[in-house]
Symmetry: C2
Subunit: 454 residues, 2 copies
Amino acid sequence: MSQSETGAVSGALARFVAATRWEDIPPAVRHEAKRSLVNFFAVALAGCRDRTLDLATGVYKRFSAGEQATVIGRRERCDILTAAALNAASANVFDFDDTHIPTIAHPTAPVAPALLALAETQPMSGRDFLLAFILGVEAECRIANAVSPSHYARGWHITSTCGVFGSALAAGKIFGLEPRALVWALGSASSQAGGLVETLGTMAKSVGVGNAARNGLLSALLAREGFDGPDAPLEGVRGFLNVTSERARPDEVDGALGQRWEILANTYKPYPCGVVLNPVIEACLELARRPELAGAAGRIEDIEITGHSLLRQRTDRPGVRTGREAQVSAQHAVAVSLVRGKAGLPEFTDQAVADPALRALGAKVRFRDDDSFAVEAARVAVRLAGAEPIVVSIEAARGGPKRPLSDADLEAKLRELCRGGGSGVEPEALIQAVWALDERDDVGSLMKLAAGVN
Amino acid sequence: MSQSETGAVSGALARFVAATRWEDIPPAVRHEAKRSLVNFFAVALAGCRDRTLDLATGVYKRFSAGEQATVIGRRERCDILTAAALNAASANVFDFDDTHIPTIAHPTAPVAPALLALAETQPMSGRDFLLAFILGVEAECRIANAVSPSHYARGWHITSTCGVFGSALAAGKIFGLEPRALVWALGSASSQAGGLVETLGTMAKSVGVGNAARNGLLSALLAREGFDGPDAPLEGVRGFLNVTSERARPDEVDGALGQRWEILANTYKPYPCGVVLNPVIEACLELARRPELAGAAGRIEDIEITGHSLLRQRTDRPGVRTGREAQVSAQHAVAVSLVRGKAGLPEFTDQAVADPALRALGAKVRFRDDDSFAVEAARVAVRLAGAEPIVVSIEAARGGPKRPLSDADLEAKLRELCRGGGSGVEPEALIQAVWALDERDDVGSLMKLAAGVN
């Protein structure tokens, strides 16, 4: 067996995870963790009955040993690895989950499901859970920072690729692993890091996101038994950072540990779309409320949207065919927001996309790049036949770092998505349980509140 | 659900896999497949009781639903996904498995275990098995060709990263999937492609290799249920080829399909080491037989090995600490071959590495680069105190494409490794069963011959 020493960067991260106590976590960080979890249950309860989850659950359940863990919003129960995978997939299937602004990673989906599954098989206090969750998110976001921006740009689905490390360290923290074993867990996680941007908009994406949660947990379980790995799985010459980034910055992993907290850069979406669309949708919803545009969609001649060039690069998708694609299509988002005055999940379905009126309206969208706009800003100008354009500008969209969703907004999101998701879950008890997590003795029992009753 | 069209390259590969029949497979290809399988059982029976497998089996078994499938050389039985993972890990744990020369990938480990596990849960003739195996190997090796050489050089463990596609298509072939569903399987496989060179020499490597077999099979199971994926998981802008290669050559995937067969470029190792060490070991074994060197190891002053610069780049590893590392260390390989006159698995253990005499002798190794040497050639010059060097040159090492192991060599390898592996398996019946595979009605029953009896 290898007499491993730990590498400098992987070792520093592992020592930090091993040493950090609940008392070391600032109050704002603790609260943000709860906000992330309210949002997590909201999006998991929205996604849990999607066809992707129906198909995945059907196959995965055949390879599940026992029924120790809850599948959120469903009646099936699974072993902890399977439940971790399915719950991560549910939370991310609509890309409506949280966004770590520096990297556009979704940090909660890979980490929370691993811990929630574990909590159903061993005693776990709310504080231990929150501490491990915060540390797992910290690790995956720091690793994501270290490989950004070239990592995602090249085609790595950063939520999956980096998430597996967060899950591994979070579970390892619950197991009380020593730093050396935590580095081993990072090593087995590094063997399982994968996920491609090419799969976005298809079911295959969810396999990768589910694996991030599942395989991180598996890596920690292996490390606990002495299953070893390389000394420097992150910073090694052929380690994760160098292999998946054109210009890795390892100091992002171990710099100022315990001084800055990545979860404070986490945000929550008001609309089930790529975050760059937030200000566009907000402008369109305001336009839809203007009396002069009431019932006038058929007379719109031209729609000009102005924003940072990233807006066009990420969302110029005319003629999309599915609800999934519509979530990253400015053409569809603009049309549906203007016509329906709403931009919730029902506005981004295959049926919504098939509406010929929306397709016709979307075809009138023109982009204007202006890099003086922040990514969270946009201007939408709508012109009716023979009239002057009606213009709405948004300086900072809701859901962005400058105008975060409030706690009440997040509760409302959970209530609405829970209602629409078809699970029959009663949201109020779950909401209260999450806000009181740090007073809870037994996190496992919380999952009873999230099990599907239909 | 996505109305997928298939991309040009992924689609062509899928159509080839769907359309190819047993009658289309040339006799030499059929026979090479059997040779690959003899070698596969040899190395799996060698690795099955390694500590890596003991630990992995202990953890994986807890998450295995049922006992449908055999774990080679062990008494445990597992579900088919778990058995696929463990059997792939066994076959590769010592890096003693087959080598696809153009890419240095190990093609059999990810593919055969998925099919063998399936064969224990559904009727499968030997011809159907061999056909699916040949097509799976063809697919993974072509994908490996398309991303080489930058893929491995950057740090991707090509056996794992490309193997998952081979497993997916092999299983999909058994399921009789249509081309569109085979592309979906490639899509879910692309979400799961991973594995880093940094993990070589540690247990973590085996997680990635196991996943290649497991997750390819899982991808085919998902695709069979309609679980969709991107149109072009391989050649898409953010697909596997572009993301994991600096200069992808998609035509390597779909060029001359059915006209050249990659399994004909497969080779089998006589020694449990990196293939570039083959000629060096062979020279040292010959030197060890020279009367003037008998018992003279202590008087060796200098050892010069001359070969292609790749030899030095891949194997200049003094002071290795573990048997695993020793397998890619010229210093250890030279020392142990000279002193013991053997180079089998017992010569590459932690105990062998710990021998101070071998360490001292290994420290006397000097490299001399000469790119006029082929990779399968080397010269070793040993100089005793006060004497002229004794020189042995090897033009083409055994096990390379010019001097492939014979069928009898492969049988002998299986017998020897089976005896050393500790499984108690009786090799003769297994050997005969593999050679007669194309006459067998039921491949599943073959696995009874490979189950551990100790």
